[in-house]
């Protein structure tokens, strides 16, 4: 019975997702997107994850739909009904749903409680078995890159999707069109890249930032750090470089294609490491099979997954910045 419910919900989810892609009417696609979120919440609750289901219902079906409808109402030139006045039915739904949520919140374990599910079962398992199973000194990295590697893959996909969305909306920046912000408005004054103070300080900082990024990248297995943080640092160094350098030189040394390739390449590298598991006779994203000794395999897998994250995050953030400055 449970299997049928799950299968049916999955099927409906698939139908909703495909129909969103093929829909021409924005308003209808927003409505179907709400249904999609509702189905997602139902699947989560069938899978015995009520907290995730609640979050999906509130954020996905609730706030996201309202935001999209509001954005639609503000941008649509020939909207039928203006958004003024309080809809009494909507108000009642809002109050009832809010009261229900607050009521359910009373059942949640207090923050930091040792009896909470995540603290009692999962955390104990990680703390006790991670040194034997993963062998990486930093427990956070062991959880992030190996135990919950699937979640992290999802996070990287989110970054990829966000950056791709920005690039699609703002257009691929024209290589010749990169300008330092404000340059075209006040030609009477020199741009910041010609100022000695900014030049000297930034030129000293860029190599140090890059070195620190490498440290953060490779130190992730032993302490705080990893691909996400290192990727942001690399992106910051690149942004600083762009401020200091003439647009033509930036376009020549850092072509746009490099970053779109790295963005997609990072995600593909992560997926490739994941697929190596089944190829070598393990599960998806199981690194133990990547070397003869399971711990060596874990180390290898985590290293490359972190590298993939670093590449994709750096490329994603820098190309997002570039897309904005090109306009």
């Amino acid at each position: 019975m449970d299997e049928f419910v799950r299968l049916g919900l999955m099927l409906l989810l698939l139908i909703a997702a495909t129909s969103i892609i093929f829909m021409r009417n924005v308003f209808a696609s927003i409505a179907v997107f709400g249904i999609y979120s509702f189905l997602m919440a139902s699947i989560f609750s069938v899978l015995a994850a009520p907290d995730v289901a609640l979050t999906e219902a509130v954020v996905g079906a609730g706030i996201a739909t309202v935001l999209m409808l509001a954005a639609f109402a503000f941008t649509h030139s020939t909207r039928d009904a203006p958004l003024n006045g309080v809809d009494s039915l909507g108000g009642v739904v809002f109050l009832v749903a809010g009261a229900l949520l607050l009521f359910m919140l009373a059942d949640a374990p207090p923050i930091g409680s040792v009896n909470a599910v995540n603290a009692s079962i999962v955390a104990e398992r990680y703390v006790e078995d991670a040194p034997k199973e993963i062998g990486v000194p930093n427990l956070v990295t062991a959880v992030l890159a190996s135990y919950r590697g699937y979640d992290t893959l999802g996070e990287l996909t989110v970054i990829f999707t966000a950056a791709t969305g920005v690039l699609l909306l703002l257009g691929r920046p024209d290589p010749a069109g990169i300008t330092t912000v404000g340059q075209q408005y006040a030609p009477r004054l020199e741009p910041i890249r010609t100022h000695p103070v900014a030049r000297i300080v930034s030129k000293i900082m860029i190599p140090i930032i890059l070195l620190f990024a490498l440290y953060v990248q490779f130190f992730g297995e032993y302490g705080p750090g990893g691909g996400f943080q290192a990727g942001v640092l690399v992106a910051v160094a690149l942004i600083l470089y762009q401020f200091l350098t003439a647009p033509e030189i930036v376009a020549e040394k850092l072509p746009n294609r490099l970053f779109t390739t790295l963005l997609a390449g990072g995600l593909l590298l992560y997926l490739g490491i994941g697929v190596m598991g089944p190829v070598l006779g393990g599960n998806f994203l199981d690194y133990s099979v990547l070397a003869t000794a399971p711990l060596d395999g874990q180390f290898r897998g985590i290293f490359w997954v972190e590298a993939a994250i670093g590449l994709a995050v750096a490329a994603g953030i820098y190309s997002t910045f570039r897309a904005f400055t090109a306009h």
Partner: protein
């Protein structure tokens, strides 16, 4: 004991600078005077905080790291303020001038 007093003094004076910076941020009349106040928070405030923390942790690796942060923020914060103020000038933002003290609209 002496270290503790020095630590408390550094952090206390740092907090005073941050407070002054915040008051300035709200009370000053225009962008340039405000960014000046924010700059005080960044350099004097944060700098004295880090100095106090370094005094507190003594001769350890943590102190070395704190001194690195102090060194870098000492250069980067004013440069950042400079760059922002510079781009404001390039966008054509006029500085505020006290009424009656001469100047373009005085």
């Amino acid at each position: 004991m002496i270290m503790e007093i020095l630590t408390a003094a550094a952090i206390g004076i740092g907090a005073l600078f941050v407070l002054m910076g915040v008051i300035g941020l709200f009370r000053f009349p225009d962008f340039f005077t405000r960014i000046h106040a924010a700059g005080v928070t960044d350099t004097a405030g944060a700098g004295l905080f880090i100095l106090g923390l370094a005094l507190h942790s003594g001769l350890t690796v943590a102190t070395l790291k704190l001194l690195f942060i102090l060194f870098f923020s000492f250069f980067t914060s004013p440069t950042g303020t400079y760059a922002v103020a510079n781009s404001a000038v390039r966008f054509g933002l006029q500085p505020w001038i006290r009424p009656g003290k001469g100047g373009a609209d005085g």
